[in-house]
Chain length 259, copies 2
């Protein structure tokens, strides 16, 4: 099996969506973490529910809808200026510590993003964070009008890059995304950012399980769909070794190339 | 506008899904509430994600998949006998305090359930809880092979009962379900079991917002889709007054009938 492309999920995989808490905590010191977690959970829910209802809206609109929901439900007042400031962080999310090094190490094989984000906000995010020269393509599901995990979203990879799913490594930290990509036919690497052991320790140490732990429980553990990713990696940096292992398999005399 | 049928959601509307905590707390005294909340959240997620992936499984299977996910993620050991005992509660959920009185008050107009549950477990639940004689029909989305909020699930009402959506009152406490039913074309009554004010008080009183409050934040507040239900009611008992209001509208001389 060859690897013709590495395709990355953006939010939660290359970019830390939790970094919005820098702003939510400034604006709402008492409820910053709660708002951060509920907002992200509802944002994903809304992509799923709108897809099922055939009532598509862009990710930017859904991000705003879910933010307004969250602030109302938590019971805090907000002005449009405050909401705009929080939303703006989605154009400047922090890349994870391993995003840039991992992309650099994979140079030579086409590298792409496939994301729920609409094209305009993805392009701005990639540009604002210095990842522009490290990606050959940035694909938005906006073209298909339906969010992940619908198959039409994943099909955009083959259409855009002209690569077969079985020759593409799809990389995601979002377990539902990794499972759905496997179900679709990609080679899949799931980035396990919170191990089960670390989560168990966090739960045991808590008097009350709070919003941040709840988020890890709901979103950062492998799903139980019977669709197992091919690889569980602790870091994006481990992707380079997959590339080398594949080179090894392709080598006609079975010798590993010199690293 | 006439009312030709009242159609009820089951889980969370006629039946209290939180009543599974009677069993989860017996089996896992330390984590009963956490397991109850994560399980219900994942169960719903799995109905959405499997529908989007076109990988349908019955609600009973999804209920088991999501229970196993939850126990693993929370980090507790379980035997099949323990899981079976917890699952069995889904066949004996507690009806809400107002379910039976509300159904009795609506006798004379066809009353039905439209639920994600598969036929076998819905029939068992209705039978085990004494609601059998109070419902003219129990409709499972299993027939359509896709869960709510997909339109094909709601379309089963018209197919089964031969009533038009605009002449049908759809009743749900699940806000996503109420919004989707409105989007589909029903008259919709949302039962607001947790007011925004009560939730704000609960959040303000908590040192750490725990799993049960998190559930209310995520699942028991009106969604922000721009699809507003026709009626927000505090109790299922308030449905009878809708029936009377409609009688009034239909009355040729405009007089309200004697109550």
């Amino acid at each position: 099996m060859t690897i013709d492309a590495f395709v990355f999920d953006a939010y939660g995989t290359l970019y830390d969506v939790q970094s919005v808490s820098q702003i939510t905590k400034e604006e709402f010191p008492e409820h910053g973490d709660l708002i951060t977690q509920v907002w992200r959970l509802k944002q994903l829910e809304y992509t799923w529910l709108r897809s099922l209802m055939s009532r598509y809206r862009s990710f930017w609109e859904i991000t705003e809808e879910s933010l307004i929901y969250t602030l109302d439900a938590v019971g805090v007042e907000s002005t449009k200026a405050v909401r705009d400031r929080i939303m703006d962080k989605y154009l400047h999310l922090n890349p994870y510590h391993d995003s840039i090094s991992a992309l650099d190490a994979l140079a030579g094989v086409p590298r792409a993003i496939l994301s729920n984000g609409n094209q305009e906000i993805l392009d701005a995010l990639v540009r604002n964070t210095g990842l522009e020269g490290k990606l050959e393509s940035v694909i938005s599901i906006d073209k298909g009008g339906v969010f992940k995990p619908h198959g039409d979203a994943y099909a955009l990879v083959e259409k855009t890059l002209d690569v077969k799913p079985q020759n593409t490594v799809f990389v995601s930290s979002n377990a539902f995304d990794a499972c759905a990509a496997k179900n679709y036919g990609f080679q899949v690497a799931w980035i396990e950012r919170v191990t089960r052991e670390a989560l168990a320790t966090e739960i045991a140490a808590a008097d009350t399980v709070g919003p941040s732990t709840m988020f890890k429980l709901l979103r950062m553990q492998m799903e139980n769909f019977g669709m197992e990713p091919d690889h569980r990696l602790k870091s994006l940096d481990d992707l380079a070794s997959l590339g080398r292992a594949r080179d090894h398999e392709r080598s006609p005399n079975g010798n590993a190339p010199v690293a």
